[in-house]
């Protein structure tokens, strides 16, 4: 769609891929440079080349790298400075309006808020699509999207609507998501997915008090995590949408693992099931319909993804790992949603197993698909899960001080082992120097 626009960002998309490969190549060329310098020194000392020649060779080989390195640094600096600048201006204007809220007439308030938002978008459009400054334009566009969210909250405040309201976040999300695709902005995609994840989690927390559907409502959040992840996978199938996949994959994975982790606690399951109906006919039809819709979205995205993957040349383990984990998550979600059994123990066992599968799965996927964020998420949750289970097991068995000491030693040992494993994994896909 935007591929024919000037300075546009398939351009930007290609730029991202280009930057990543440049980072890797910079790292590789660092080691190449030191190897080369060592060899040249050896040749010079052996009398094969003169001092002048060795200096010329070193200068010749080093020259092309500086512009690349500088380019990458400049590119990032431009994005950081532009984003900070745009946000500071927006925050300044909004805080000025908020500080003088009562003194400004209603019409003027609205004109300032909506006019400011529109002007920000107009400037962003000019920079990004007309004048050829995609990074500055993207940063201002991001500020415009943030301004829209601030306006939603300010208008709610003007009419004394409760601002403790997750619906405001959902409205903000709906408003900015299309913008992410039009502007081809990863930053706005991250913002949109982040707002959505926080919004639905908040909404779920406020709805779980509902007397007949606590478990069902929380299970919907689990389905939502799986759906967000599946939508990310669907994005990976086309070159034009691949650019947007990462925020969905990371957001979906985080949400799914966090909800699964919640259900590994006996107390949480008991607390939710205390008010939840065992009889499915007594549950809210609306929630069941919502759970079904979210599950269907997940499975349809999964089928679409794998339809393409079947023809790919990846190994079966790589192709089937994601669908298998997501399907297991959805099955486990329905298992707890319909609240088949009254005993909490069975659910706790199932979700502990599911959590281990998800953690190991995400680490494996990180290695197979070279997604560093996945390896890090997996390792963080591995340590959290291990610590949690250790505390659960030892809290009644060991003396508190002894439990702390043994736990501390165990964590240090696990941390050391994990760090070594992480380095080995990252070295496998050549990112060690970047991430160390």
């Amino acid at each position: 769609m935007t591929s024919e626009t000037p300075n546009n960002d398939s351009a930007q998309d290609d730029g991202e891929i280009f930057e990543r490969s440049e980072i890797i190549s910079t790292v590789q060329s660092d080691s190449r440079q030191s190897w080369l310098k060592g060899r040249i020194n050896l040749w010079r000392e052996s009398g094969l080349i003169t001092d002048d020649q060795s200096e010329s060779i070193i200068n010749f080989e080093a020259a092309p790298e500086d512009p690349i390195r500088l380019g990458i640094r400049f590119s990032r600096l431009i994005v950081v400075l532009s984003t900070l600048g745009a946000i500071l201006i927006g925050a300044g204007i909004i805080s000025f309006i908020a500080a003088n809220w009562q003194g400004i007439p209603v019409i003027a308030k609205l004109a300032l808020l909506i006019g400011g938002q529109t002007a920000t978008y107009w400037v962003a459009y000019q920079f990004q699509f007309v004048r050829g400054y995609p990074r500055v334009g993207g940063a201002i566009m991001f500020a415009g999207a943030a301004w829209f969210g601030a306006n939603v909250f300010l208008v709610a405040r003007r009419y004394h609507l409760s601002t403790d309201n997750p619906d405001l976040l959902i409205w903000w999300f709906i408003g900015v998501l299309p913008l992410a695709y039009i502007a081809k902005s990863k930053a706005i995609t991250v913002m949109a997915v982040g707002i959505f994840v926080v919004g639905i989690s908040w909404k779920t927390a406020s709805e779980t008090d509902n007397s007949v559907s606590g478990l069902l409502v929380t299970a919907i959040l689990l389905f939502a995590g799986a759906a967000i992840y599946s939508i990310g996978l669907a994005h990976l199938q086309r070159a034009s949408t691949k650019f947007f996949a990462a925020p969905y994959l990371v957001g979906g994975a985080l949400l799914t693992i966090v909800v699964t982790y919640m259900f590994t606690f006996d107390e949480v399951v008991k607390d939710y099931s205390r008010n939840s109906s065992v009889n499915i006919s007594e549950m809210s039809g609306g929630y069941i319909a919502l759970a079904a819709i979210v599950s269907v979205i997940t499975l349809v995205s999964l089928v679409m993804t794998n339809w393409t993957s079947i023809r790919s040349e990846k190994r079966p383990s790589a192709r089937l790992l994601e669908p298998a984990i997501i399907t297991l998550t959805v099955i486990a979600g329905w298992f707890i949603a319909i609240h088949t059994f009254e005993s909490a123990a069975l659910y706790v066992v199932v979700f502990n197993l599911l959590l281990v599968i998800q953690i190991l799965g995400i680490i494996a996927l990180g290695v197979i698909n070279k997604r560093e964020a996945f390896v890090n998420i997996g390792i963080v949750f591995f340590v959290i899960d291990l610590s949690t289970r250790y505390i659960e097991l030892t809290v009644d068995m060991l003396d508190t001080s002894l439990a702390f000491i043994v736990g501390g030693l165990l964590l240090l040992g696990v941390g050391y082992g994990m760090e070594r494993a992480r380095r080995r994994l990252l070295r496998q896909f050549g990112m060690m120097k970047v991430t160390q």
Binding site: E4, T118, F129, L161, T163, I182
Partner: protein, 180 residues
């Protein structure tokens, strides 16, 4: 192709503005054409770093008996069963003038109920339900919360539309409209 991007961009920005104006228009319509009710309130003065200063308003009708409860001179009768999260309609007056006995029900009222307010059941204990009506926060200028908290009598003038949705029009402090 740039024209297509431009068109899509304009559509999204326009929809964002329409949404904000719609929200404003909806609340302004309630304030303009809604029917007036005065609700007794007990304000408290929390302060939130992110949201600015506001008073939380608790009303006579915020806590209702799950079957029947006396609130001052009035009796609220609960018609049917309610659960957490249910929408309820609480009568504020009756057509026949019998305002000592008012109904709380889950179906939208008709018949003898004249003015009603729509709320959502927050919590339900054995004999009391807590209901929220969307008029529990009133934002105020910084540093003026005590004026309201220390007043002898605080009332809220709300406007209510035909569906029972309420919007705060003004705070009445010791008989006077409070100027923010």
């Amino acid at each position: 192709m740039i024209f297509k991007v431009k068109r899509l961009f304009i559509v999204v920005i326009a929809l964002q503005i329409v949404f904000l104006l719609g929200l404003v228009g909806y609340r302004e319509t309630i304030l303009a054409v809604g029917r007036t009710a005065i609700l007794q309130t007990v304000p408290v003065d929390p302060r939130d770093l992110f949201k600015g200063e506001y008073v939380t308003l608790r009303y006579e009708i915020s806590n209702l008996g799950s079957t029947q409860v006396n609130q001052g001179s009035k009796i609220y009768r609960l018609l049917g069963e309610v659960n957490n999260g249910d929408t309820v309609y609480v009568a504020l007056s009756n057509i026949d003038g019998d305002e000592s006995s008012l109904d709380v029900q889950t179906d939208e009222p008709s018949g003898r109920t004249d003015l009603f307010i729509k709320g959502k059941v927050g919590t339900k204990n054995s004999d009391v339900i807590t209901v929220e009506y969307g008029v529990e926060q009133y934002f105020i200028p910084e540093g003026r919360g005590l004026e309201i908290e220390q007043a002898e009598e605080v009332e809220v003038r709300v406007k209510i539309n035909r569906s029972g949705i309420a919007a705060i029009e003004a705070l009445i402090v010791d008989g006077q409209d409070w100027k923010p």
